[in-house]
């Protein structure tokens, strides 16, 4: 599914403070099946952009279209993985993973198979009946990933989903995500702090500038997958992106 972001700006007007421009005139076209990574420093509006695509927030100006229809609210074809802790603590892991399906009215017997499949996919076999408080932070985030994937969305919005994971798990999750993506041809918009992660995953990297968030650079990543993190091409692109980010910080 194609996502089109057209001249989107977002200004927050908190009660007493002066208006805060979070995003300034962002335009982008995310093609069907594309894997886009959004990179940018803390507070530059990455989450805000993702929320607007997901229909949880509305642009102050400009508009966002998904497959030709303007976004006015949450859409079942999109799923979002939140940056912060979003599991339901009173539900077991299994029941959290099946939440989206349950809301769509899928009966329990049908759900169970899918739940188990995605619990296995994120490496949590045997934890189906555990409660989130019995899991580590990284395991919880994997449950959130499984919950989003279980509904089989055409567009996956991911807000720093692997930020809390250790390097090893993180690498494994990245590979799993790419496998799923290649198989299902979902459109993925993936926010991250990590240049390394972006270069490993993305078809295209969008770099945002510090507040207000503007598009500071776009990089096409034309390396075949699976990518070799130690390769020359990988290192060159990573260095280019890092340099841009450094320059943006210096100009602040």
């Amino acid at each position: 599914m194609t996502v089109i972001i057209r001249n989107v700006s977002k200004t927050f007007t908190a009660r007493q403070n002066e208006p805060l421009i979070a995003l300034d005139n962002i335009s982008a076209r995310v093609a069907n099946g594309e894997f886009l990574c959004i990179l940018g420093p803390s507070g530059c509006g990455k989450t805000t952009l993702l929320r607007m695509i997901g229909g949880l927030d509305h642009p102050t100006s400009g508009e966002i279209e998904v497959e030709g229809t303007p976004v006015t609210g949450p859409d079942p074809r999109l799923a979002m993985i939140f940056q912060e802790y979003s599991l339901y603590p009173w539900r077991t892991v299994r029941s959290n993973v099946g939440f989206g399906l349950q809301m769509r009215g899928m009966p329990y017997e049908e759900r169970e198979k899918i739940e188990n499949r995605f619990i296995g996919l994120v490496g949590l076999e045997g934890f189906g009946d555990s409660y989130p408080y019995e899991l580590s932070g990284g395991m919880r985030q994997r449950v959130a990933v499984a919950r989003a994937l279980a509904t089989d969305p055409a567009v996956l919005l991911m807000d720093e989903p692997f930020g809390a994971l250790d390097a090893q798990t993180r690498n494994r999750m990245q590979k799993e995500l790419l496998l799923i993506w290649e198989k299902t041809k979902k459109t993925v918009i993936f926010v991250t702090h990590s240049v390394d992660e972006a270069v490993f995953l993305a078809d295209r990297i969008m770099v945002l500038s510090p507040r207000p968030g503007r598009i500071a650079g776009i990089y096409d990543v034309n390396m075949p997958r699976p990518r070799d993190r130690t390769g020359v091409e990988f290192a060159t692109l990573r260095r280019d992106v890092l340099e841009l980010i450094d320059r943006l910080e210096d100009s602040q």
Binding site: L56, S86, P89, Y133
Partner: protein
Amino acid sequence: MRWYLKLLPPFFLLLAWEVASILINNPFILPTPVSVAAVLMTPMADILGSGSIIDNALLSVWRVVLGFGLAVLCAVPIGIIIGRYRTIEELVNPIIQLLRPIPPLAWVPLALAWFKIGLLSIVFIIFIGSFFPILINSIDGVRRVNRTWIETAAIYGAKGWKLLAYVILPASAPAIWTGLRVGFGVAWMCVVAAEMLPGTTSGIGYLIMYSYNWGQVQVIIAGMIVIGIIGIGVDVLFRAVEKRKFQWQEMNR
């Protein structure tokens, strides 16, 4: 702490009571623990033609069940609505703040004027007493539901009653439950007080008031102990459910 250490304070209380009752030597002021125990040992025995301690206590419990049940049925839904909608809260909050500090017993004259002496006015007093703790806790619980939980539900298409049943209610259940526990405590105090009103002819509150008229101080104390035990018993039940069902709230870091 060792369990037998915990038995020491009550033991000393009993001892002090025993000594005091011997020194005072007047059963109309302070009867001996043994005479009170005697009353408690025969809870089914009729007392001065007013029925047994058990009969009267059960009647009081039944009144509380009516008044408290009614309060739950009203306060929880109203609390959820107020907690969900900011504008409604702003509209009704002044009224709540005005009515809440009025002690339930201050409603007695009005209750008598409206419902006369009898079951209805007692139930009304209990209702008023437990309504506000339940309401306040429900409002608070619903208002504090994590925004991300609601937005997650929105992402997965949960709206209306589904949002209510699968997210809002379970998320605020611990707070609502606390409201019920506190509300029941108040209801139990209210029933005893309301039963002491002139014209009442039954209930554990009536029984101890009636025993006073006959100088049966050992029955008064026995009745007070029964009131305390029932109050603690219900509180323990509420807490047990809380521990089993809402463990996630404690553990949720």
